[in-house]
Amino acid sequence: MRNAFCNVLIEMARQDERVWLLTGDLGFSVLEPFAKEFPSRFVNAGVAEQNMTGVATGLSLSGKIVFTYSIANFPTIRCLEQIRNDVCYHKANVKIVAVGGGLCYGTAGFSHHATEDLAIMRALPGMVVAAPSDALEAAQITRLAITTPGPFYMVLGKNNEPTVHANPPMLNLGEPLCLNKNLGEIALVSTGTLVSEVLRAAEMLKSSGIEARVLSMPFIKPIDCEKFLQFLDGCRLVLVVEEHTAFGGLGSAIAEILAEASLDIKFVRIHLPEFINFIGSQKELRKMLGLDAHSIANRAMTLLTKN
């Protein structure tokens, strides 16, 4: 996913001289090709994210399209006020890229778990928030980040995530994707690399004779509500699965849409607890916390029989 991002960035930078990349001293074995091809548009700003974000704003106020790159919470929460006051208020063309969404850096511990980022970024004025599910979505969203004026946040996985799409999907800003055309009465909704678990859960359900729709939400903000609700047509249960706490992320966004649409639809979430006091690989943590395909399928099954 990281490489898909970097490759597209290089491709776009060849066509558009305004594209710059700043990193907060991270990107070893990922960003070198960009740095090599565009040394005058690449800066390692050091371990100084507040300054990096301010510099990105200054560059963009001088006409550049600037990506800031770091991992987990460093390009977002560490410099939150710079993002709010400098980037957002000035509608600056700054594109924030965080590598290692959710529990990607599972064993690294609490400091490296990006589990509130969607909520916090979503709260910022004018900010687009995107979480691609696989490398193909990441490539498309990187292009969109460049062509969409203003602040943009994209959270990526790391490496070798399972692919969700066989072919590059058609992505428009804010549009959800329906990954399987069926009319099952339950919709499984997710974002980021967790979508692949949800897809596998849907396959498991299918083998038990249950049809489940799978919606991938590459955008948490904005969300094309009309399109989203169309995908739910005839559905009686929405199960949102998120590698994020319960506060303000995808689940919250969808709860808001459903409440405002006054639909007679049951809404359930699987989300992370606020504190995770043990470590593990992302795969193991997902299992322990009920976010792996098996747990998701079981939960869906229980919900369908109960309701």
Binding site: S40, R41, V43, A45, G46, A48, Q50, N51, M52, T53, G54, V55, A56, T57, G58, L59, S60, L61, S62, G63, K64, V66, E81, Q82, N85, D86, Y89, H90
Partner: protein
């Protein structure tokens, strides 16, 4: 000497300009019952010299691409900046009356929605990093306009400035000029008592900036110095301007209270008298 321009007298030298900045800032703050008059008075001479004799800007085209950039990082001193911008013709003087009033464009802290303002500020420690970005963009395109950032001394408590200080020196941003309005007072005490910055000039030097100290109320010295920047090739420039908070109004000078207080009518007329207002 003043030039008459459609009824309004626009100052034509930095001393007159500084006097007018002070007069208008005090009126604005009094009218709106707002704070930070000491902060505006402390930097009035610096702004006057910059806008009269240093900055290449064009009030008729505030977005002129070749302009020098000015960032007021101590955004709480908005009254002073708005006054100088109006006095240089960036927007009508009449607008100053709307400072800090309901529904007004002139917010209590510096806003980029006002013509001539490059960056909204108000949270301390934001201006210098953004200034670095502006200089970096120019430098890599071999353009030569300069970026001036005015900081307060209390603001130097903020770590973001020191991140930017490292960055500017490393990238040899010699078109960056930071001016510290060192009035030795901050929000809730004296700089020396709250969080010692001394030796401040040495700190900036240690961060590999070319540092010059100046009396921040001496127009001739400011003019000479600011027009010399960059002081050393390949180094960003730091002007440590020693100032007096509240400068120009005897009872406001060096008084913490005037970071907060707004003059009552009596204090206002006394202040205006001291500043030699004619009308």
């Amino acid at each position: 000497m003043t030039i008459k321009l459609s009824e309004i007298e626009y100052p034509s030298n930095s001393l007159d300009l500084a006097q007018q900045i002070r007069i208008h800032a005090i009126k604005m703050v009094a009218q709106s019952n707002s704070s930070h008059i000491g902060s505006s008075l402390s930097m009035a001479d610096i702004l006057a010299v910059l806008y009269m004799d240093v900055l290449r800007v064009d009030p008729k085209q505030p977005d002129w691409p070749e302009r020098d950039r000015f960032i007021l990082s101590k955004g709480h001193a908005a009254a002073g900046l708005y006054a100088v911008l109006a006095l240089r013709g960036f927007f009508p003087m009449a607008l100053l009356k709307r400072f800090c009033q309901e529904g007004s464009l002139l917010l209590g802290h510096v806003s980029h929605h006002v013509p001539g303002v490059e960056l909204s500020t108000g949270s301390l420690g934001h201006g210098l990093p953004v200034g670095c970005g502006m200089v970096l963009a120019d430098k890599r395109e071999e353009k030569s306009h300069r970026v001036f950032v005015v900081l307060s001394d209390g603001e130097c408590d903020e770590g973001s400035n020191w991140e930017a200080a490292l960055f500017a020196a490393h990238h040899k941003l010699d078109n960056l000029v930071a001016i510290v309005d060192a009035n030795e007072l901050q929000g809730f005490g004296r700089v020396d008592e709250v969080l010692k910055l001394a030796p401040l000039a040495e700190k900036w030097r240690a961060f590999r900036w070319a540092v010059r100290e100046v009396d921040g109320h001496d127009h001739q010295a400011l003019k000479t110095l600011l027009n010399q920047a960059p002081f050393e090739p390949d180094h960003p420039s730091l002007v440590l301007a020693h100032t007096i908070k509240g400068k120009g109004v005897s009872f406001m000078e060096d008084q913490l209270a005037w970071h907060y207080k707004s003059p009552n009518p009596e204090q206002l007329s006394q202040a205006l008298k001291q500043l030699g207002e004619k009308r």
